[in-house]
């Protein structure tokens, strides 16, 4: 529970300006908070004096002055503590985001987006809440419980004894109740996750539910968990409903004791009426800080639990790391060599679904030896799951091979800085992803920020290469049209073409097209490939596909099966060989001719 204390203290140190502003202001506010009962006591005690009117005027003037000074410092108190908490939130969010950006692809394959989101929102909010409320209440209480007893003792030691005794058990009681409530609350959280699991299962399996007309049964099943949650909540409500009123009662009993015994002391002439009134007023003030103690504890517990969850992410190290002294030269020629590559996906996770699957427990790549001359165009073919995309993933270092090495221009890719390596490669991934931004921003995404002010005409060149200009010109905002849910609706093929132009705009020395025509029809694919001819010249290009349009462009073909390169050579060579490739070629030709029917 105290393991995160260091991090919290570090934050206090980092934002000490806000912390001290808040604390000093709070110090003054609390100090002044002690005075109103004293002023009132003063007024009451001098009721019988001759110059009572003057004294009364002084007392009231002092009172209003106190109130105004307090208001001033209350402002700074809030600005200090709230401001500090906001800065903590700002900083944690930035740190979390920056860290996530660096994590390797395998992290995202094993972590759900929802999980990351809940840490970035709920957990950061819980930590922030501690800096806003927890620390504030804690300091407030410490100050309050230092000032008030001193003054009470000064006013009347005996009455202080009467007043304090009935309250002594309260912090213990609050703590114990707090624990009980916390435990029941955790129970409720568990039922809530049961509800969430049940709902999630139902929504995922809705097709089965509907097919088997299980809606009614599902509803009654869902009702059962909800009734359970309802009952648990009532169980907590019993405690909750007791806790508050009982604290109120305790303070009330204390008032009872003070007025009764204090009254007797007044009657016996031991204390003045004003003193009794001051005691009464302090007791009315003290009720809130008493309850606050319990809140600090639960606040802190929540914040530490959330901090733990944040630390889990912060302590996840990127799996792909740069060499200590990386090569910082750009890749000029683009000669690629795979040497004895072995690879299995980590955690036996399926590359597509992130689910564990039987297929990927076998190695994804075995004994890959492949040399791709600079400037050549290579077509990698093979059935689904044969390891084609894995080859591309290794080349951009989404993963590192478990055995063997990859060289580009004779340098092991592990020795390049990630920036140089990835900066030299134009990668068009299989899954179409565009940002909810303008077309222009998306196409120029990989262009260095300094050069991003390129004219729209440059964008046009890139979108023209993928036959998109006609489509874009028809949009009302043209190249500044927003994509995504709120923007224009492009078809899958059109989006795919934009991802291609995004890669070309980078002017990379190596271009990887991973099955990037899957949503585009054959004619468009052919037209795009034709217009790309000039771009591909003098660029090492890896085209991963099982379609035939690229065959004519490729200087040679690599055919993969079950994670191995089974054949390589020119189209002619492989056709005469009548092996895997030739059979695949015939199959694909049939399929494509069928598509045309």
């Amino acid at each position: 529970m105290f393991r995160n204390l260091k991090i919290f203290i570090e934050y206090l140190r980092k934002y000490r300006k806000q912390f001290w502003i808040g604390t000093i202001a709070l110090f003054i506010v609390d100090l002044l908070d002690v005075t109103p009962p004293l002023i009132i006591k003063y007024g009451i005690d001098h009721l019988g004096d001759n110059d009572r009117d003057k004294k009364l005027l002084y007392a009231v003037a002092a009172y209003i002055l106190v109130v105004l000074i307090q208001a001033f410092f209350r402002y700074w108190m809030r600005i200090g503590f709230y401001g500090m908490s906001l800065l903590v939130g700002l900083d944690l969010r930035n740190k979390l985001f920056a860290h996530i950006q660096k994590l390797s692809v395998s992290f995202f394959n094993t972590t759900k987006t929802g999980d990351i989101m809940s840490r970035a929102t709920n957990d950061i909010e819980a930590v922030r809440g501690f800096f806003q409320h927890g620390i504030f209440i804690l300091i407030d209480n410490i100050l309050y419980f230092t000032y008030v007893p001193i003054i009470l003792l000064y006013l009347s030691p005996r009455l202080t004894l009467y007043a304090v005794l009935p309250l002594l058990y309260l912090p213990f009681f609050a703590n114990r109740m707090g624990n009980l409530i916390h435990r029941r609350f955790k129970d409720i959280q568990e039922v809530l996750s049961e509800i969430s699991a049940k709902a999630s299962e139902n929504f995922s399996g809705i097709r089965v539910v509907k097919s088997f007309t299980q809606e009614e049964n599902e509803i009654s099943g869902f009702r059962n968990v909800n009734v359970k949650s309802y009952n648990k909540n009532l169980w907590l409500a019993k405690l909750d409903s007791f806790f508050g009123p009982f604290l109120g009662f305790s303070v009330g009993v204390d008032v009872f004791v003070v007025i009764l015994f204090g009254g007797l002391l007044v009657i016996s002439g031991d204390i003045k009426t004003g003193t009794l009134v001051a005691f009464y007023m302090y007791l009315r003030q003290i009720a809130w800080p008493m309850m606050g103690m319990g809140m600090v504890m639960s606040n802190f517990q929540r914040a530490t639990a959330s901090m733990d969850r944040l630390q889990e992410i912060f302590q996840t190290k990127p799996e792909i790391v740069e060499a200590a002294q990386p090569v910082t030269a750009f890749i000029e020629r683009g000669e690629i060599e795979f040497k004895n590559i072995q690879f299995s996906y980590p955690h036996s996770l399926d590359r597509y679904s992130g689910k564990e699957s039987a297929r990927t427990r076998t190695p994804a790549l075995t004994d890959i030896n492949l040399k791709i001359p600079a400037g050549s165009t290579v077509l990698v073919m093979g059935p689904i799951g044969s390891g084609k995309s894995t080859l591309a993933n290794l080349l951009v270092r989404f993963f590192d091979p478990s055995g063997g090495d990859i060289f580009i221009d004779g340098v092991n890719i592990r020795n390049y800085s990630l920036g140089r390596l990835r900066g030299s490669i134009g990668f068009v991934p299989q899954d179409i992803f565009l940002f909810a931004d303008t077309i222009k921003e998306n196409v120029l995404f990989g262009v260095n920020i300094g050069a991003a002010n390129e004219q729209s005409s440059d964008v046009q060149v890139y979108t023209g290469l993928v036959q998109m200009n006609e489509v874009i010109e028809k949009l009302p905002e043209k190249y500044n049209s927003l994509l995504g849910e709120r923007g224009v609706n492009l078809s899958g093929g059109q989006k795919q073409r934009l991802t291609l132009s995004r890669a070309i705009a980078k002017k990379p020395s190596i271009l990887i097209l991973d099955d990037c025509f899957s949503s585009v029809d054959f004619e468009t694919e052919q037209a795009i490939l034709n217009s790309l001819k000039a771009v591909l010249k003098n660029r090492t290009t890896l085209i991963i596909s099982h379609r035939l349009a690229a065959v004519k462009l490729a200087q040679f073909i690599v055919f993969m099966e079950d994670g191995r390169v089974v054949e390589k050579g020119t189209h002619q060579e492989l056709m005469t060989k009548k092996g895997h490739y030739a059979r695949f070629y015939e199959y694909q030709k049939l399929k494509e001719s069928l598509e045309g029917e």
Binding site: Y75, Q101, A197, G446, E597
Partner: protein, 588 residues
């Protein structure tokens, strides 16, 4: 996908009011409980006001007259009032919390029940995570509103009214001092309220954008990394984060001015009250105890304003949740049962597609004028390339979607006239991707249908060859399986899915054969079960296995949304058309 960005639009004042009204409607069934709660709150306010008066009495008539016995008696009454207050407080709090919980239960059930009626099209467009959030976090936010804000509002209103009445009753002149500061407080409130509201909205919008940015960057992390744009994304995020901070900071400044201002106002009015009150005491108009009681009242007079302002953010969050929940409840189901339903008396199992057209997004037609009839007991295989419309045909037959044009008949009745539950009862559906629920094998076969006995499940499992593997499991039919379970192989899942379909005693079999490879033994069991099943009833199969294709009466070749060829295996091979090419592709 960009869930967070979508949900926050600027909501008008009238809008919050409308949402609130609609929420309160859920309390209507519990109006007596609510009335009771309000009544108890009223009593509590009374006791609360009586407390300082009792103490005033003790001071004025007991202590100042040195009447010890009177002090003791009055203070014992005070103690009684405390006990009464605690008891009623407990009952009231429990009553209102349980009321809130009850409403939450109702609301959550309503959302879930409503979702059960939504068509697959709805689920296609709403990610599971988003819907789960609706029935969990959003409902919880509403519960916070019900249990904290509403109770507080009721209490605060009673408190202000009660204090006003009490003070006016005890001493109208003295009462005028705190009461006259109320207009001042209201002016302050009206100056700040629109600003607070607007800055809260701004925070909400910017938070939504911030979260959308995180979500998008996670979804596009590969692209960002491979394009080396981590820094650009970071800068973009930092800007959003800073904007969010700025909006928050603005709100905090408003709050930091507003709250001390109200506190100061309260303090000043207490000061005047004291000054004037002491004068009254001196003039002998009131007693000292009454003045003390007045000071106490005045201190509480302003707390409702501060209290309600504090709860404003909870209120805002709950309104956003309410809006999202009602948006779901207001989405009407696309597929409805006919108002004048027709019933299938004895389902023979004749299926007719009559010039059926369909598209998922109103753009590309997936089915273009499909017509065919399957006679009772006949089995038909659908073959063709992916994207040809095979899966759509079986989705339409289950009425997961409605046809765009044309009609589908079962035993001569349009399926839109048959109640959905009755229609689907006739169909035994085996899907390619077998969904397993968390639970055991038995529950996964009979689902939640308790009326199906274990013996029947065992019989059916034996009939479809699923018993072979089930009996080898550690707890046979009671073995636990997980959602998206990994404990069963894909072949075993198919067999389980056969049993699941057959145990409901369907009249028509709909089978989407799985393509994944399974071991030789399981493959044999699957083939045997398949051929047994298709002989026993009207069957429509998306076929991948040659053995299945050869077993059916007829083959329909689907291509680009049309039926291009019909016949049996030999006939279609002889035709040398699409089927011939497909066949060649399969065996190249």
């Amino acid at each position: 996908m960009v869930d967070y960005q979508h949900e926050d639009e600027i909501l008008g004042k009238a809008y919050d009011g409308r949402l609130m009204k609609r929420l309160l409607r859920y309390a209507f069934p519990y109006k007596w409980r609510l009335m009771m709660g309000i009544f108890l709150s009223l009593i509590l306010t009374g006791i609360f006001i009586a407390g300082p008066l009792l103490i005033a009495t003790a001071i004025d008539r007991g202590i100042s007259r040195s009447d010890t016995l009177f002090v003791i008696m009055v203070m014992l009454m005070y103690l009684d009032s405390l006990i009464l207050q605690m008891a009623i407080n407990y009952i009231n709090s429990y009553l209102l919390i349980s009321l809130g919980q009850r409403i939450m239960l109702d609301l959550r059930m309503e959302v879930f029940t409503h979702l059960q009626k939504m068509s697959l099209n709805f689920f296609d467009h709403n990610p599971v995570g988003r819907l789960v959030t609706r029935v969990t976090s959003d409902i919880v936010a509403l519960s916070d509103l019900l249990s904290m804000v509403i109770v507080a509002v009721i209490n605060d209103i009673f408190l202000i009214c009660g204090l006003t009445i009490a003070m006016l009753w005890i001493n109208p002149r003295l009462a005028l001092i705190p009461i006259s500061s109320i207009p001042l407080a209201l002016i302050v409130l009206f100056i700040f309220k629109p600003r607070l509201r607007n800055s809260y909205r701004l925070i909400r919008q910017r938070l939504a954008r911030l979260n959308a940015c995180i979500q998008e960057s996670v979804a596009g992390i590969r692209v960002t990394q491979v394009f080396n744009q981590e820094e650009r994304m970071m800068n973009k995020f930092k800007a959003f984060n800073q904007e969010h901070y700025d909006a928050n900071y603005k709100a905090i400044i408003y709050f930091s001015v507003f709250m001390p201002l109200i506190a100061a106002l309260s303090g000043i009015s207490i000061g005047f009250l004291f000054y004037y009150g002491v004068g009254e005491v001196i003039r002998g108009v009131i007693k000292l105890g009454i003045l003390i009681a007045f000071l106490d009242y005045a201190r509480h007079f302003f707390s409702p304003i501060q209290d309600l302002t504090d709860k404003y953010s909870i209120f805002q969050g709950a309104m956003a949740s309410a809006e999202r929940i009602f948006r779901i409840l207001d989405t009407e189901e696309e597929i409805k049962d006919s108002v004048a339903p027709k019933h299938l008396t004895i389902c023979k199992g004749e299926i007719t597609f009559d010039n059926v057209w369909f598209s998922y997004n109103n753009e590309v037609d997936v089915l273009k004028g499909i017509s065919f009839t399957i006679k009772p007991g006949e089995s038909v295989a659908l073959v063709g390339m992916s994207g040809g419309g095979k899966t759509t045909i079986i989705s339409l037959l289950s009425r997961f979607y409605d046809v765009k044009k044309g009609r589908i008949l079962i035993d001569g009745v349009d399926i839109r006239d048959i109640p959905q539950s009755e229609l689907r009862r006739q169909l035994g559906v085996v899907l390619q991707d077998v969904f397993l629920f968390s639970g055991n094998i038995l529950e996964n076969i009979r689902l939640n249908e308790q009326s199906i006995s274990l013996d029947r499940v065992k019989d059916i499992a034996q009939y479809v060859n699923a018993d072979k593997f089930i009996e080898k499991l550690p707890d046979d039919y009671l073995t636990k399986v997980e959602e998206r379970g990994t404990t069963l192989s894909s072949g075993q899942r198919q067999l389980l899915s056969f049993a699941r379909a057959m145990v409901f005693d369907p009249k028509i079999l709909i089978l989407d054969e799985a393509t994944s490879a399974v071991d030789v033994e399981t493959e044999y069991y699957i083939q045997e079960a398949t051929s047994k099943l298709i002989k026993s009833m009207t069957s429509i199969i998306i076929a991948h296995r040659l053995s299945t294709i050869q077993n059916v009466n007829r083959i329909l070749v689907m291509h680009k949304g049309e039926i291009r060829e019909i016949g049996n295996h030999q006939e279609l091979i002889a035709q040398k058309g699409i089927y011939y090419k497909l066949y060649q592709m399969q065996y190249l």
